[in-house]
């Protein structure tokens, strides 16, 4: 019974994660030109700011970039080609996401690898605890019962 509860809890959590991913993970059909401009600008670093995207910065250069993105989108260019253009002028640095080739791959691979490593560590630790608990339990119980019996007899 208790084991079932554990599995149900895990399934429930996974389902919540899936729902959250669907709800917030993908920009739900960025339809208007403003939304599409913002979606592109959010992926670009404002050149003169500290850790701010082109979408959020009030700096003049960020404004100029937003206008450029807007015009290019209106002219039918794809978000990827606009990003590629800015990367070709400013370098990979302008892109808020690390590149998917070269050293940037480390940044993409490290988090899932760390999560997997953590899960592996947790599972081995739990297995170790359970093995130890099972091995020592009968011994302790026997000694304990022995002691209780001895003390009862002493009375």
């Amino acid at each position: 019974m208790r084991r079932w509860l554990g599995w149900i809890a895990i399934a429930w959590l996974l389902m919540l994660c899936a729902v959250a991913l669907i709800a917030y993970g993908t920009p739900a059909g960025a339809s208007s030109l403003d939304d599409r401009t913002r979606a592109v600008a959010l992926q670009l670093r404002c050149p003169v700011c500290q850790g701010e995207s082109v979408a959020d910065s009030p700096a003049d250069i960020a404004k100029a970039m937003r206008t450029l993105i807007r015009e290019q989108l209106a002219a039918g260019r794809s978000p990827d080609s606009i990003k590629a253009y800015l990367v070709s002028r400013y370098g990979n640095w302008i892109s808020l996401a690390p590149p998917t080739s070269g050293i940037g791959v480390v940044a993409w691979l490290a988090p899932p690898l760390l999560v997997l490593g953590g899960l592996g560590l947790l599972l081995t630790l739990i297995a170790g605890w359970r093995a130890r608990g099972m091995a020592s339990e009968p011994g302790i119980r026997a000694a304990y019962i022995e002691r209780v019996r001895a003390e009862l007899n002493a009375d």
């Binding site: 003049d60 100029a64 206008t67 400013y90 370098g91």
Partner: protein
Amino acid sequence: MKRALWSLIIAVPLVALLAAGFGRDPSAIVSPLLNKQAPEFTLRSLDNKPVSLASLRGRPVVLNFWASWCLSCKDEHAYLLDASRAYAADGVTIVGVLYQDTPADARAFLNQYGSGGWPQLRDPGQRTAIDYGVVKVPETYFIDRRGVIRYKTVGPVTPDVLAQQIPRLLRTAA
């Protein structure tokens, strides 16, 4: 013993990574345009004449993005004036591009500090600045006779940089 070894295996690369990361200046950007063809432009100058980079092919170009509101642009301007006098006979052209500035303010600046006579171009919407990957003014691009960017400075150019880079541009063949 084993535990100490594992700690070392984990700690050493981590410390090395952090040292490499924090030891770097995050605002120092290597321009991807270095040694590439300079982006073309045709812009109107303050006297409303069209100036294109293509029309300057065959001459070394010092392309200077600046603004009248930019303090270090004042120091730099004096060095550019010196350079323009020193290298005019060699065919070196200085070209200024205004960055988020008004023509009136730019004219006032040039009247006060000396115009040097080189073209000062208006760049509506900073399209040319973005095309060159300008982050903040002043930035200066050294373009050779073939239109290739050979060097770039972020921040005011110094007399040393001008004395090094302009002769370098002059040495490259057309």
